[in-house]
């Protein structure tokens, strides 16, 4: 293994500000929406207005007559022009022949309110929208299936013609013998958790601008997507083009969060129309369209067996996910991930999780930060709190009894090999930081009045760096680093910029390794013509894989420069130190040469001067973390996550006993993502995740009318947390490097969501008081008030 970077990579030396922060703040960054090619046309979708129906016919004649309309396409017409989206590959389900597909435009059936079934292209966005409204659709409504029980009832209609029923996929994750453990356990608690439907909601919606270059025979696509190479692959298949005849540009995103995974129909259709009409075509999603998409809705029942000391002896979970209408993006993989992350950081050998993903007539899912791990954390922490309550002990005691100890790691379960960590130290640190003992004392002293304080503590395990073998985007990444004779480096990376500032961390790694200033590194991303093949951004991999690949390439260039410097000074490489943009003799720092001069030397004199080889000033490296196993072992286990971040979250909330309102007072978190490259960025990630966790726990929900129409169509109805909703946040970190990643990094993009949700739920339950109450997020004031009422009635 190449020498591990020392403290220079860590926090102390590089608390660098975002490289391009000023451009973002000054509005100089060009997002997708800023691109309006001079002669472009605008595309608007005709979307179904009922949740479930047969389409008897479509009449586009009125729409076609609107001046300025340049193109129209119905589902029937699209079917012969563009291939369907593939939701499940062939062989995924043994009972289905071939892949399970979804048409780009609905042809004879509507599966959710808002499903696109036709499109209009016109001179202006307004004209396209108006014309789209004039398309008349003849529906034969069918009773919509909105809930899982309904979708699984034997008499309910099939929602997908290729599938025998409405259970899309299911599985079991288990270790040991849970049933035996539960039947032998001295005590068993059971509970229920329902997590309401919600979605990742980036500030920027999706969009796509495409044009066909007839002279080159190439499609140029600019799309607000996290995975440009994956989009290129899909477009090639759907439009019958070679991948090399397509260029996809992914501009800086105004937030990705999994919402901008590819696999939905809009981008391919924009490309199709650009090619057909021979002019650039543009589509930008409006908020109402964006809010059609979901990314979580879970119903879990759990049973936990325990002894008198609070030790968890066995765990059984039934986890159902309402995934809405079938979609062809990675979002449908989340319920499986949620199940695979049990039993989290707890030392429980006997557990079983039965999970199902069920289709309904709600809107389709796409990915979302947390990726199912949020429900895992909530269920585990609810069970732990239940155990504490049953025994009359502080919830912290149950964590102490059950969290894995650092000497037990690496720790293998059915689906994970947890790499490293010190959970108990994080717990102690978080409790100290939160002033937990004092907070509990204050809590008990406080007069009831009209509000009650509750405190919740939660542990969250966050597997990261996923390698989904079988898919187009894998867990490895490639980077090219080029050094020029100005002494500047250019990094070409296949990871993209969702807005997290990961390119700053990548630049840091390269700058430090080569020995140049951060301001001399440019990071190029989001261009399938220029960068190596890449996985884009997902599973917090930008620094973990993208950064490490860049570091490796930079390391090779460092070698080139060391060799050149040794020839330059007539010494050995070991006598040279790299500092302040120069390569110099360790024993006499006045003998130094700049990186620029060394680069020029290599260029000009390579092989012409003794000792100076003709070396490349460009290096490409691929990196795949260790600790991955895609081929099942003798026990049938696979292992898709190389690294495991984790955190402890302490929430203090005040519950208004008369209105049920929950106001957040404090949130304390101690987080460990292994080696930290840029602490500012990591803090920003955790803060953002905490905000998302508050939204999930307290106010975000996508609901439907009984007819299956979405209710929360804008931000006055889909309630996101705002600054006044945020508590005072205190953060601290541990750094337990991963033994399985080259730089010890683990990924920090998703940590904080599940832990925050669980801690807040714990705090509210703590405030409401003892008693068995089912958990249903978001904990809106009416729900909390109903719980308080139930408590009173019980008493």
């Amino acid at each position: 293994m190449a020498d591990m970077p020392g403290p220079a990579v860590g926090s102390a030396q590089w608390p660098a500000r975002r490289l391009d922060g000023e451009r973002f703040v000054r509005g100089a960054v060009r997002y997708l929406d800023d691109e309006i090619p001079p002669d472009c046309l605008h595309l608007s979708f005709v979307r179904g207005t009922v949740a479930h129906a047969r389409i008897r016919g479509l009449d586009t004649s009125l729409a076609a007559r609107v001046p300025g309309v340049r193109g129209l396409l119905t589902g029937a017409e699209a079917a012969s022009l563009i291939k369907d989206l593939v939701a499940l590959p062939a062989g995924f389900r043994p009972d289905v022949d071939g892949p399970v597909t979804v048409p780009c435009l609905a042809v004879d059936r509507i599966r959710y309110a808002g499903e696109p079934l036709a499109l209009v292209v016109a001179d202006s966005e307004r004209t396209a929208r108006r014309a789209a409204e004039l398309v008349q659709v003849d529906y034969e409504p069918v009773r919509p299936l909105l809930e899982i029980d309904d979708a699984l009832a034997p008499e309910s209609p099939r929602l997908h013609p290729q599938l025998p029923g409405n259970e899309l996929m299911s599985g079991v994750v288990s270790g040991g013998d849970a049933e035996r453990a539960l039947s032998h356990a001295p005590h068993v608690i059971e509970g229920r958790v329902d997590m309401g439907r919600g979605s990742a909601v980036p500030l920027e919606t999706r969009g796509c601008v495409a044009s066909w270059d007839a002279a080159e025979g190439r499609l140029l696509v600019r799309a607000a997507v996290q995975t440009p190479h994956a989009l290129r692959a899909d477009l090639a298949r759907q439009l019958d083009l070679a991948e090399s005849d397509i260029r996809v540009l992914a501009p800086p995103l105004g937030g990705g969060f999994g919402f901008k995974f590819i696999g939905l129909p809009e981008e391919p259709l924009v490309c199709l129309m650009a090619r057909r009409l021979g002019r650039p075509v543009r589509w930008v999603e409006c908020r109402e369209e964006a809010l059609l998409i979901g990314a979580r809705e879970y119903h879990a029942r759990y049973r936990a067996g325990f002894d008198g000391t609070g030790r968890m002896l066995g765990l059984a979970v039934d986890l159902d996910a309402n995934v809405g209408a079938l979609a062809a993006n990675p979002g449908i993989g989340m319920p499986s991930v949620a199940a695979s992350c049990f039993p989290g950081g707890y030392d429980v050998a006997d557990y079983v999780v039965h999970w199902r993903a069920v289709l309904t007539n709600k809107g389709p899912w796409n990915g979302a930060r947390g990726y199912g791990k949020e429900i895992t954390a909530l269920v585990l922490e609810a069970a732990a709190d239940d155990i504490a309550r049953a025994l009359g002990v502080d919830p912290v005691e149950v964590r102490r009894r059950n969290l894995l100890h650092s000497h037990q790691l690496p720790h293998r379960t059915a689906t994970m090999t947890i790499d490293s960590g010190d959970y108990h130290r994080a717990l102690t640190k978080a409790l100290d930081l939160a002033g937990y003992t004092d907070a509990r004392a204050r809590q008990h002293r406080r007069d009831s009045g009209s509000s009650r304080i509750g405190i919740g503590v939660a542990f969250e395990l966050t597997p990261e760096g996923r390698d989904p073998a079988g898919g187009v985007s894998r867990g490895s990444e490639t980077a090219t680093v080029r050094l020029d004779t100005s002494g500047h480096a250019t990094v070409l990376t296949g990871v993209t910029s969702p807005g997290t500032g990961s390119e700053t961390a990548i630049a840091q790694l390269v700058a430090e390794r080569i020995g140049i200033g951060l301001d001399r590194v440019r990071v190029v991303q989001g261009d399938t013509d220029r960068t190596p093949y890449g996985g884009g951004s997902f599973s917090s991999r930008a620094v973990l894989t993208g950064g490490t690949a860049a570091w490796k390439a930079a390391d090779q260039l460092r070698g080139v420069l060391l060799r050149a410097a040794a020839v330059h000074f007539g010494c050995t490489e070991e006598e040279i130190e790299v500092a302040d943009g120069t390569y110099r003799l360790a024993k006499d720092s006045s003998m130094r040469v700049s990186v620029a001069d060394l680069a020029r030397d290599v260029r000009a004199y390579g092989s012409a001067r003794p000792g100076v080889a003709f070396e490349e000033l460009e290096a490409t490296a691929t990196y795949m973390p260790g600790n991955l196993q895609s081929v099942p072992d003798a026990l049938g286990r696979v292992q898709q996550y190389p690294t495991y971040s984790y955190g402890v979250y302490v929430a203090e909330a005040a519950v208004d006993l008369d209105t049920g309102s929950v106001s957040m007072r404090r949130l304390t978190a101690v987080h460990d993502c292994g080696t930290v490259v840029n602490p500012r960025m990591v803090n920003a990630q955790i803060n953002g995740a905490i905000a998302m966790g508050i939204g999930i726990a307290l106010c975000e929900e996508e609901t439907y009318t009984p007819e299956g129409l979405p209710v929360n169509t804008d931000f006055k109805r889909y309630l996101l947390p705002r600054l006044p909703d945020m508590p005072h946040i205190t953060l601290d970190h541990l750094e337990t490097p991963s033994p399985f990643s080259l730089l010890g990094t683990k990924g920090a993009g998703e940590s904080g969501i599940g832990g925050t949700v669980a801690a807040i739920v714990g705090a509210v339950r703590d405030a409401i008081g003892p008693g068995r109450h089912a958990i249903r997020t978001p904990l809106t004031p009416p729900r909390v008030l109903a719980q308080l009422d139930a408590m009173e009635q019980h008493a």
Partner: protein
Amino acid sequence: MLIPQLTRGTIAPDVLVDLHRLPGAARLRTSAGATTLGAMVSYTTLIRDPTAPPLLRHIAQGITGGPQIRNQGTIAGSACYANPASEMPTALVASGAIMRIAGPAGTRSCGAADFFDGAFTTRLAPNEALVALDLPASTNSPDYGYCKIKRSESSWPIATATALTSGNGMLNLVLGAAVTRPVTITVPPEISTLTVATIDQAVEHQGAEWWADELADIGYRRRVAIVALTRALASLQERIVKRDRP
């Protein structure tokens, strides 16, 4: 509301009139203790003017949406939109505001309580415009109570209650957001508890109805309406006590 509706294209008016150039439209004037708000007085103007009625200033500071909304949103605009969830209609009724309305036949006045007819409905005719709001001197009283119950910061109000002393020594409580039009309940100053029955009666008596929307149903609103009124009342009583203390 007009601007978002125009942006989304949910309304497409043939004629759009900008009232900014109406003389005095953006000004707040006090004269002999009475205050007149022009049609274009924004929340920010209210907030920045220390002579503005305290109750209205208090409410203006809590309008959701930050400076962008507070700079553009107007009190008169909120009144004309008459969204039951909006705070200003209730505040205007509580303040005893007189609405000055201009039309082809000239200018007329209408008391705020009569102006608000129901959810999204006012007594403004299609060819009329609200040009000013006259607030009597009593609205300058520093004694007020206000309580707003929301679901979260993004949420519009679920129940609001204002409490002011009325001229004759009684206290006027006005309930908003939970009802289709503001409902006034007059109580003696020494009152300690309100009953749901009292509120139900007032709602019915004043031709209002309980209001429900996507954020809360009627059951929840009836529960928290009494909480809002009680808290506004307590807040007013506290202010009175503080003032009377030597």
